[in-house]
């Protein structure tokens, strides 16, 4: 590729890097039992919720940060982070959008997520989470009519304690890992979804996470329960301002799909990635796991990861119900100085369970990317089937791509297949496209989009276009 473009590492704009100037309540940095109690009290939580937090905190104190991932970042000082930040205007939760601070509404407007229903994306209900609290949830009434519960988890604690007590921590136990334990202690908000038996959720559900305040971490918790024979498609989006400091994001997502239920969970992750030299950006340590609890249940993870300085994330499926299905479709881009260690785990427990993994990793500039996956077939999983396709694309001389796809089979009737490849955008491909009239950058975009096609196909229509655009922006100036 041409030297000119190689050197023209365009001062690429992160479109969502602005800061909202709003009066914010932030607790001082530091984490102790008192902090946990303070957060719980602030949210006026019942005793059982406080207990959940304190037990998580106890577990966290005894654990140490995992270091097996191929990631390189300075030690995080957990006492230097503030664990709660919220716009003061949201101290009392607004009853309607009219009561929401216009500054906040404008923020979401700028992010392309208008919260007024007349302007909102048709057919998509949005829960907007700003720092530690939920700002607003759209289309609540319409969902209510269908019997669907979609609300901030902090409200659900009060309104649906029986569901939360039953399912919170049922898929990702408190002691699962260092970051999930931390989340259990200090999680602030997030979304709760319950789809009743036999219900097809009438619209896409979406949560939009925004980190705004300086020096804070975001610890959201999402719980989706799809009861027997129900269906839901859920999408999360994430952005943060450009700051020189790193910010911690440690979320937990739990999915429960009962008999014949289907959950489709899509992520377009665009946290601030930091600058070309690795300064600033979000540390994204996320635990996502779903369980196909009943027969013929299906959970499908689709992720487009273009942001964050560090990504540590393995959306997984426990295939417990017979004939249940788990899917993982991923496009991950590491450009600038980004690092990602991501992949999935498929645990085949039930009979005739099926899993599909399609992972496309793109590494450019000084990006580092690892695919880490495990397909495990336990002794009772007769007739289990699994297929993995995991490809890496390298653009440039300073990036790298590592692949660790582990396979453990303990049942002789299982069929587990795995294919992987690593390649680069070939000069000949670029030349061919250019001879036919494309600009070099457009040629690279065309080739990269072709490489990711199997995954983009899985995204809801509206977001496939967004994801594609995001990918192009992420790779801007990466050609060379």
């Amino acid at each position: 590729m041409s030297e000119a473009i190689h050197e023209q590492v365009a001062k690429q704009d992160y479109a969502y890097g602005f800061v909202t100037d709003i009066d914010t309540e932030i607790i001082p940095p530091g984490l102790s039992e008192e902090t946990v109690q303070w957060i719980s009290a602030k949210k006026k939580e019942p005793e059982w919720m406080l207990e959940f937090r304190l037990k998580s905190f106890e577990a966290w104190k005894k654990m140490s940060e995992p270091n097996w991932a191929e990631l390189d970042y300075p030690k995080i000082d957990y006492q230097a982070i503030s664990y709660y930040a919220a716009p003061k205007s949201l101290d009392e939760r607004p009853k309607s959008l009219d009561e929401v601070d216009p500054e906040l509404l404008e923020t979401y407007e700028k992010l392309g997520i208008p919260l007024h229903e007349r302007a909102a994306l048709a057919g998509v209900a949005v829960d907007a989470v700003f720092d530690s609290v939920s700002v607003a949830t759209t289309f609540k009434d319409e969902l209510k009519k269908a019997g669907v519960i979609f609300m901030p988890i902090s409200e659900a604690v009060h309104e649906h304690p029986e569901l939360l007590k039953k399912y919170l921590g049922s898929v990702v136990p408190r002691t699962d890992n260092y970051f999930s334990a931390l989340n259990g202690a200090v999680f602030s908000d997030g979304s709760f979804v319950y789809i009743p038996k036999g219900t097809r959720c009438p619209m896409e559900l979406s949560t939009y996470f925004r980190i705004n305040a300086l020096n804070t971490g975001q610890f959201e918790r999402t719980l989706i329960v799809a009861d027997e024979g129900s269906y839901v498609s859920y999408l999360e989006g994430c952005t943060a301002p450009m700051r020189d400091e790193n910010q911690l994001h440690a979320a937990v997502v739990e999915l429960v799909a009962m008999e014949d239920a289907e959950i489709k969970y899509s992520t377009v992750q665009n946290w601030y990635p930091g600058d070309d030299n690795g300064r600033g950006g979000i540390y994204n340590f996320v635990t996502k796991r779903g369980i196909c609890a009943g027969a013929r249940a299906k959970i499908s993870w689709t992720q487009v990861e273009t942001g964050s300085a560090i990504t540590w994330k393995y959306p997984s499926v426990i295939l417990k119900g017979d004939d249940s299905v788990g899917e993982f479709y991923s496009v991950a881009v590491t450009s600038k100085a980004q690092q990602a260690d991501t992949g999935t785990k498929m645990m085949h427990i039930g009979k005739n369970t099926k899993s599909t993994i399609i992972s496309k990793g793109i590494s450019a500039q000084k990006g580092r990317q690892n695919y880490r996956g495990l397909v495990k077939v336990l002794p009772k999983a007769d007739g289990a089937r699994s297929f993995t396709q995991c490809d890496s694309l390298l653009i440039g001389q300073k990036c790298n791509a590592y692949t660790f796809p582990y396979i453990e089979v303990e049942n002789p009737s299982a069929q587990v297949e795995h294919e992987a490849s690593t390649s680069s955008v070939e000069e000949e491909q670029i030349l061919y496209c250019r001879q036919r009239g494309l600009k070099e950058e457009d040629a690279v975009n065309l080739i990269v989009n072709g490489f990711c096609k199997d995954v983009f196909r899985q995204l809801p229509m509206e977001f496939a276009v967004e994801a594609q655009a995001l990918l192009n922006v992420s790779l801007e100036g990466a050609v060379g």
Binding site: S2, E426, E428, Q429, L431, Y432, C433, R434, Q435, R436, G437, L438, K439, E440, D442, L446, I447, N449, G450, F451, C452, K453, D454
Partner: protein, 248 residues
Amino acid sequence: MLTIDNLSASVEGNPILKSLSLTVGAGEVHAIMGPNGAGKSTLGKVIAGHEEYDVSSGSIHLSGEDLLELDIEERASKGLFLGFQYPVEIPGVQNHYFLRTVMNAQRKTRGEDELSAGDFLKSLNEEMKALNMDADFKKRAVNVGFSGGEKKRNEILQLSMLKPSLAILDETDSGLDIDALKVVAEGVNRLRSPERSFILITHYQRLLDYIKPDVVHIFADGSIVKSGGPELALQLEEQGYASFGVKA
């Protein structure tokens, strides 16, 4: 149409083209024949603007435009088409999408409006029918898993859609069986017109049985050693390169 004057080019310091001159008039078909390794393919790549080659002297003009001043894609938009000897595979990008993207890119560069999806599909279907191509060809990824013959036919399809003023076909006949060769030749013959010129780069006379050239050039050691009418190709076929003082 095309005027090459005294062109010299090298790759990594090794001279490949040596003071080559060539003029192709509008509507003419020229065949460039030569032994393997003589640098025939280099000529096509240098005209197209491949960055691996350094042009040390000389000039290339297409319809009055100085090509050496332009990037590869700009030359393409000026009506230059290079048919690749080994068409490149682009996984995940559907053929029809690729064609529409490149056509619109060229139109944009020329300051023309984009083609509507309907118009595009209509002419694509017509061209594919003329080339005897299955409809599923559109949906397949560019050249991925294509046989040698399919790849070459795909090049001819792109050629007929892009309607260039000058098409350079590099060893288009290599690896083709006789039926595929006929299809390709028919495609080219159909596209012959007073406004469109062709340069056929080939090793064998075979292709010229189906596409009648106006001028035949014999190419050796970086330049043209002899030019003549179609009879030159026949003479070459009978007597070999040695009869022209060329090491085969």
